[in-house]
Amino acid sequence: MMNRTRSCCCALLLLFLSIARADAHPHVWVTLHSEILYSADGAMTSVRHAWTFDDMFSAYALQGISHAKKGQYTREELASLAEVNVTSLKEYDYFTYARADGKKLKFSDATDYWLEYKNAALTLHFTLPLKAPAAAKAMQVEIYDPTIFVDFEFAKDKPAALSGAPPQCLLTADLPHQPTPAEQLRLSQLDNAPLDASSTYGEIFANKILVKCP
């Protein structure tokens, strides 16, 4: 009797595990290129992003946007969508997280934003100014979605660049690493314990830019 009860327990446990196991699934893929901008005195001032959405999400975002010529959208026709994009992104901190020597930096609202439609894909251009320019030996900029609904990945050919940085500064760009088993397990439980915007779990999937200025 005890054995049967125990096996019954196991069966139930497995059942609930099986119905609870689930994976998050991104529905938006972004290929990004980011530029770190510096002022004349060698302090980092802002990040300039160019995010290219996958073709399906691009089509979704373009739904209902009036345009004069089929299959073509001018920057003006896309101006209102660009506005909506950056306004929505503000709530998610633009998925951009910066640290100067380990200390968190804050960004102001996006400026200089526009959308470009090319090769059936939308590219969102925008600049994120730091609240206060910062100089640091090790500057880190990460781009990721904590809720991993958006899959960010550096463009393979041109992931990141420096603009106006002191000559001794060195830039490296790292793609997300392969999740460890523990991270995968957490990933599989997102259905029942979703990540909120304050979670740092998505950091695993962060695209990291590191600027070292010795």
Partner: protein, 387 residues
């Protein structure tokens, strides 16, 4: 002493259920909603498989756009599109938002059969596909609405869907919770009257009678069970009927009242038209929420002037989803049947055990609904870029 031994399997079952719940949702175990990552790493081989499924469904999804594009002037590509759509549905349904958990819990709580589980799974997946198609057909094709407006529509539908899930869970919790209470309460009087009957067989029937009324009073929440007339006069007609039927065997009475308590479905009634109607409410609650993937695929197809191809692909995707959900639902029903077979071997405690499982399943439905609602609020998914 004997009593303690009898209780042990029940305690084990409850412990098992609690363990299962805490594994499902680390937030409960850790006391903080959406808390830190779960630390149980011993199940990692399984998560390797899940990671593979995760990667597969992402790859299928990303290849959909190419196939939709190609199917514009290539009939063969269209068939590949349908094949990929099916596979995407099968793999994708393992992910969140396809009602596996809610449907399975519903089947467990309601003592549904395997066949009904499969039918309900297919029905909910079909509704899900059709809702996505209707939303895109009306909003995008007819009204030329923007992604923002479509997102808002889906958003409202989601809230309604999750709200309905919570309501269905609460209703089940109410019905099954009272069933559990009866099963629990009836253990004590049964043993007491059993002893009494053994010591004086002549008066057995009188004891039976009193005991039955006492039980009836408990069932109806009338604590004043000394007043027999009071019990008769109130809303306890069902139980009184049961009592009349089973004068000779009070044990049987308790079972009958536990099944049919609180106007809950009798097993026979469930299989009838009313049962199907009830099943329909669960199916609609679960199926109402369209999958974001289907919406995006449909709008992408529409942008390529291939709305009908997209519609067929969405329905095939739903078929794939249905198979996954039905498979999981079948496992759920099977597990319940195993538990029920074990429970039948021991009348009183077995009944208690089954009622406990049902209550657990009802609690899960409420929890899933609440978590979905909260999860939706935490990550606004499609609205990240389109407002």
């Amino acid at each position: 002493m004997n009593n303690m031994n009898n209780l042990r399997p029940v305690v084990l079952m409850v412990a098992g259920a609690i363990l299962a719940i805490s594994v499902i949702d680390p937030a409960w175990a850790q006391g903080a909603p959406f808390g830190a990552p779960h630390h149980a790493t011993e199940i990692s081989p399984q998560s390797g498989l899940m990671a593979w499924i995760f990667a597969k469904q992402a790859a299928f999804y990303r290849s959909l756009s190419g196939f939709i594009r190609a199917s514009k002037d290539d009939g063969a590509a269209m068939w590949s599109l349908f094949g990929i759509s099916f596979l995407y549905g099968v793999f994708h349904a393992i992910g969140p938002g396809h009602g596996k958990a809610v449907i399975s819990s519903y089947l467990v709580a309601n003592e549904e059969t395997w066949r009904r589980g499969v039918v309900l799974s297919f029905a909910s997946a079909a509704i899900q596909s059709v809702v996505a198609i209707i939303v895109v057909a009306i909003a995008a094709v007819l009204l030329g609405a923007t992604a923002k407006a479509i997102g808002l529509t889906v958003h409202v539908i989601e809230i309604v869907s999750y709200g309905l899930v919570i309501l269905i869970g609460l209703r089940l919790l109410f019905v099954k919770g009272r069933g559990l209470l009866i099963a629990f309460r009836e253990l004590t009087p049964r043993q007491a009257s059993g002893k009494a009957a053994a010591s004086s067989p002549q008066t057995g029937s009188i004891f039976d009678r009193d005991d039955r009324f006492a039980a009836t009073a408990i069932h109806c929440g009338c604590h004043d069970h000394g007043h027999v007339h009071h019990v008769h006069g109130l809303h306890c007609h069902d139980h009184r009927d049961h009592d009349h039927h089973g004068h000779d065997h009070h044990d049987h009475d308790h079972h009958a009242s536990a099944w049919g308590h609180a106007h809950g479905p009798e097993p026979a009634e469930l299989a009838g038209a009313g049962g199907w109607r009830r099943g329909l409410s669960a199916v609609i609650a679960v199926g109402l929420r369209p999958c974001s993937g289907a919406i995006i695929v449909l709008i992408f197809a529409l942008a390529q002037d291939l709305f009908w191809t997209g519609t067929v692909a969405t329905l095939i995707m739903g078929l794939g989803t249905a198979i996954t959900v039905a498979a999981i639902a079948t496992v759920a029903v099977g597990a319940r049947n195993i538990a029920s077979r074990i429970a039948k071997a021991r009348s009183g405690l077995g009944m208690l055990m089954m009622r406990a499982i049902e209550v657990g399943a009802a609690v899960l439905i409420v929890a899933f609904g609440a978590l979905l609602l909260a999860g939706y609020m935490a990550s606004e998914q499609l609205w990240m870029f389109t407002g």
